[in-house]
Symmetry: C2
Subunit: 158 residues, 2 copies
């Protein structure tokens, strides 16, 4: 078997493990995987608009409206009309939202970090190099479909 195939098999194992674990973790927190991802995106230092969140997650604006609707209904995020551009909404995580995030940590984080840090130094370095290389191979050329850097939509929190 070619090494490219071997690496694909390993990649699929990674994808499958994270997907299954993410589902499990989400339902333990009473949320869905997508809802957790929205909260994670919102958890950063920036205040985001629905459009910006949608772009980061690669879904349409209409989809993001419904996702935000559900999170608002659960009290995990809140909408606030922008002062400077009244077409826009600012979406932010509430305290309850942050609490929910704390109970539903990153799907990868738990499982991965402690095992990683137990590895010898050289192996950690190798893994970082390899993962960054693979990520580069995979997401290069993807910027058209998903404008990750939509700086016009970023605003620093006050």
């Amino acid at each position: 078997m070619k090494r490219s195939e071997i690496s694909l098999v390993a990649l699929r194992r990674i994808l499958r493990a994270t997907e299954l674990y993410g589902r499990e973790l989400a339902r333990a927190a009473g949320l869905t995987p997508v809802q957790i991802r929205v909260l994670q995106v919102l958890d950063g230092p920036d205040i985001l608009t629905p459009k910006a969140i949608a772009a980061r997650m690669g879904v349409s604006q209409a989809t993001m409206t419904t996702l935000i609707d559900r999170l608002v209904a659960k009290g995990l995020v809140e909408r606030q009309r922008s002062e400077t551009d009244r077409r826009q909404m600012n979406v932010r995580v509430t305290e309850a939202g942050r609490a929910a995030l704390a109970r539903a940590p990153d799907p990868l984080h738990d499982r991965y970090v402690s095992a990683f840090e137990a590895l010898p130094d050289w192996e950690q370095a190798m893994i970082v190099a390899a993962l960054e290389r693979v990520a580069g191979l995979l997401d290069a050329g993807h910027l058209d479909a998903s404008p990750v850097l939509d700086l016009g939509d970023l605003r620093k929190s006050p």
Copy 2:
């Protein structure tokens, strides 16, 4: 930033790239990502039951029933009652299904293989080692939630 965090960021880039690319590719083929995965699982040498497919994909049997319904409606798979145990159904890909798979190749495959094979030998080896290590870290301890090895449900094709 700790190396564990750096590697998590790279992993998320990998996950995001493959997810977005998978959606894109699926809709180009007129299928959904999940439907493609079902076809891939069925494409192997074994004839599988709905239960076995569900176990491999980590979804419930009820979900698998509806997925198979849709694929049957499209003529991509067919059901056949098992002769030896008439409670069971055997699901197999049709010729049309194989053709659809050929038009909708593995989400990862396209993008990845040629770039990978252009890398120098040492780097290929490093990536394989690192990915297998990471996959091992992530999917260890997962066998309870998703019985990948459900040998009772496998049957060799005649």
